[in-house]
């Protein structure tokens, strides 16, 4: 204790002062950086390659918009955390300039008046030779105005184990009735259930259930987009089919009612389910991690019900926030128009897990979802896919 003198105390106080003030030294620098940069928030795709493609796109757009690379801040934001980050940044009046938005985000932030109206830009893009996949337009329109620029589509095919179908000497089912019968033939519970249908209280359940209800003429809301339709005869008929699959035929694992969004992925990837309905995340996983399973995986349309079948496609968009401090953010979106041309992204494999790029959306319009079937490998798979394709789902 006697070794501490006044000079030591002064040194300590000085050190404390420096430590306390050091965080503030770069404040001015930080402010200057924010003023100069265009901030883009990227929500990761299913594979690093897909992320790389999109990063290249953004920098390419920025270049076309006359921005230097150093003027773009490309931030990767985890999907699950984007909502909290956006809420805080919007409240503080400092949202990102441009962000990749899911279709429900466009409607949500659009209805609150946060998104820039890009109707002029989207209208121009629609008129151009390769245009925009028209089904994607509903995702970006709000009260007759476009609040996002369609970027990519995300199909929801049925992933099917071709080897099990072959083993049971059956084809991919065309209808839900056939689906149940086929399922009973190929499953061997508890190790293998036929249908990995997500039934937990999560988004994938909504998609899985609605994909089936639509086939029975069911719907979630009326055409006025306001009236909720739950207790209709069509919805009840669809739900009864699910109930029968779950309770009577037991082709859906009992634990599916507690699954989160990854439940059906895990079931298929661990070979515990023969069929699942999911976006391209499973296929992307197989492409990177399990080539053997990928070889025996086929992508098919949803089986038909009394009212036909529906192939769901989600749309991702670019959106720009009104309250962005960077005046040239708009130019990035305008540069996105170039995507319609022969952008390098078109030559990348869809199996990379990128939600299919816009160009693919144009292809899909012509060839429908069956275009995805090209990814199969073996001959038998090709035959099965060919039959499925020929039914013109």
């Amino acid at each position: 204790m006697s070794s501490i003198n006044r000079r030591d105390v002064l040194k300590l106080a000085g050190a404390a002062g420096v430590a306390a003030m050091s965080p503030w030294c770069r404040v001015g620098k930080s402010e200057a950086q924010r003023a100069k940069k265009l901030v883009y928030w990227h929500l990761p795709n299913f594979t690093p390659l897909a992320d790389q493609i999109q990063k290249e796109q953004v920098y390419e757009f920025a270049k076309q918009a006359g921005l230097k690379e150093s003027e773009v801040e490309y931030a990767v934001v985890a999907n699950e955390q984007a909502t909290a980050k956006l809420a805080a940044s919007i409240e503080a009046g400092n949202p990102p300039d441009v962000i990749r938005l899911y279709e429900s985000n466009v409607q949500f932030y659009g209805s609150q008046g946060h998104l820039l109206d890009v109707t002029d830009l989207v209208t121009k893009m629609r008129r151009e030779p390769k245009g925009i996949f028209e089904s994607s337009m509903t995702a970006v329109m709000y009260k007759g105005r476009a609040l996002g620029v369609p970027l990519a589509v995300n199909p929801w095919p049925v992933h099917a184990r071709l080897d099990l179908l072959e083993q049971a000497k059956v084809e991919y089912p065309k209808t839900w009735d056939e689906f149940i019968e086929t399922s009973k033939k190929i499953q061997s519970p508890p190790r293998l259930y036929a249908f990995g249908m997500c039934l937990g209280l999560v988004e994938d359940t909504t998609d899985n259930v609605m994909n089936l209800l639509w086939c029975y003429g069911g719907k979630m809301v009326e055409a006025d987009n306001k009236t909720v339709v739950m207790n209709s005869a069509a919805n009840v008929a669809g739900v009864k089919v699910i109930e029968a699959m779950f309770k009577t035929h037991k082709i859906i694992p009992q634990g599916a009612i507690a699954w989160d969004n990854s439940g059906n992925n895990k079931a298929y990837q661990s070979k515990q389910a023969a069929f699942v309905m999911n976006p391209s995340s499973i296929y992307a996983y197989l492409d990177s991690n399990d080539k053997e399973l990928q070889k025996v995986t086929g992508l098919f349309p949803v089986p038909a019900g009394p009212k036909g079948t529906v192939n769901q496609i989600d749309t991702w968009s670019y959106g720009a926030f009104k309250k962005n401090p960077y005046p040239r953010a708009h130019r990035l979106l305008h540069a996105a128009r170039e995507l319609r041309q022969d952008h390098p992204v078109d030559r990348r494999p869809l199996g990379a897990g990128l939600q299919a790029p816009l160009r693919f959306a144009v292809l899909a319009r012509k060839a429908r979802v069956q275009t995805l079937h090209q990814h199969g490998r073996d001959r038998r798979a090709g035959e099965l896919r060919g039959r499925a394709d020929s039914r013109g789902g």
Binding site: V9, P44, N94, N278
Partner: protein, 281 residues
């Protein structure tokens, strides 16, 4: 009678040891599972049957972690922020606690109670207003911004804890130092702090661990890789419905090491400090 008492003690000891074993397993099992999963191949992780140990151990997950992700940058950022916050918490905590424990001024009790209230406000209520503050100060996406934010929970705790300790130091010792010519600051540095090492160890450990593990503020206030911390970096191993279990478990395991090392270093003082705090606080 003595024999019965001895038997009871032995029984109590066995029960106590049994409980300790249960607690030990409870605590160590997640660590084991993290390590085991990080050494498994993806196909084994997703296999039908969960395996207790890696049947074909592989370092692929670590290769991916260090080869394709900026994990070391996350470690660097977490270290800068945790160390910065710890140092500042010690400085502000000591000064604040000394003032509240020794000086007489109006509103002293109110401020002391206010510290507890501040500490009890959940971060979920604070992150939006704090974002607005940091945004105004242009501290979003900076190390400084996170350090400043973390002080909002570490300084109240540090001050409250140290206040209890400082009160336990006999006033006569400090008065003697003042009589001998020490200033207030001198008596704090020369008399009180050397006698409060256990408390300082607790504050150091607490501030470091809290900063290291914090997620919500780091997630909301940081965008770039240059500032991103380990906790928020971990969340990038989940992409919608795809979980990259191997690298995520590897990163989780590695991220537990610094607090563990800190605890091992300060263990003696931490245990003493926490015990004393319970009585004197």
């Amino acid at each position: 009678m003595a024999r019965t008492t001895s038997g009871s003690r032995r029984l109590l000891k066995w029960v106590g040891n049994g409980l300790l074993v249960v607690l030990l397993v409870w605590t160590l099992l997640p660590f084991y599972w993290m390590i085991a999963t990080s050494l498994k191949a993806d196909r084994e992780i997703y296999g039908f049957e969960a395996t207790l140990y890696p049947h074909r151990p592989t370092l692929a997950a670590y290769g991916r972690l260090f080869g394709t992700t900026p994990f070391m940058k996350y470690v660097r950022n977490s270290t800068i922020i945790a160390v910065g916050n710890t140092l500042l918490s010690l400085v502000f905590g000591c000064l604040g606690a000394y003032a509240l424990a020794r000086l007489r001024f109006p509103g002293r009790a109110l401020i002391a109670r206010g510290l507890v209230v501040t500490y009890l406000v959940p971060p979920a209520l604070l992150f939006i207003p704090l974002f607005a503050v940091l945004s105004t100060l242009h501290l979003i996406d900076t190390h400084q911004g996170l350090i400043l934010t973390y002080l909002s929970f570490s300084v109240p705790f540090s001050t409250w804890l140290l206040m209890g300790y400082f009160r336990s130091v006999p006033l006569e010792l400090e008065e003697a130092a003042l009589v001998d010519g020490c200033s207030r600051l001198g008596s704090l540095v020369r008399v009180i702090l050397p006698m409060s090492l256990p408390a300082l160890a607790v504050v150091t450990f607490f501030s470091f661990t809290q900063s290291w593990n914090e997620f919500l503020y780091a997630n909301v206030f940081v965008n770039s890789v240059e500032v991103r911390t380990i906790t928020t970096g971990l969340s990038l191993f989940i992409v919608e419905d795809v979980f990259f279990w191997g690298p995520m478990m590897g990163a989780s395991f590695l991220s537990t090491l610094p607090p563990l090392v800190m605890y091992l270093i300060f263990q003696r003082w931490v245990v003493k400090g926490l015990t004393l705090g319970a009585v004197k606080g």
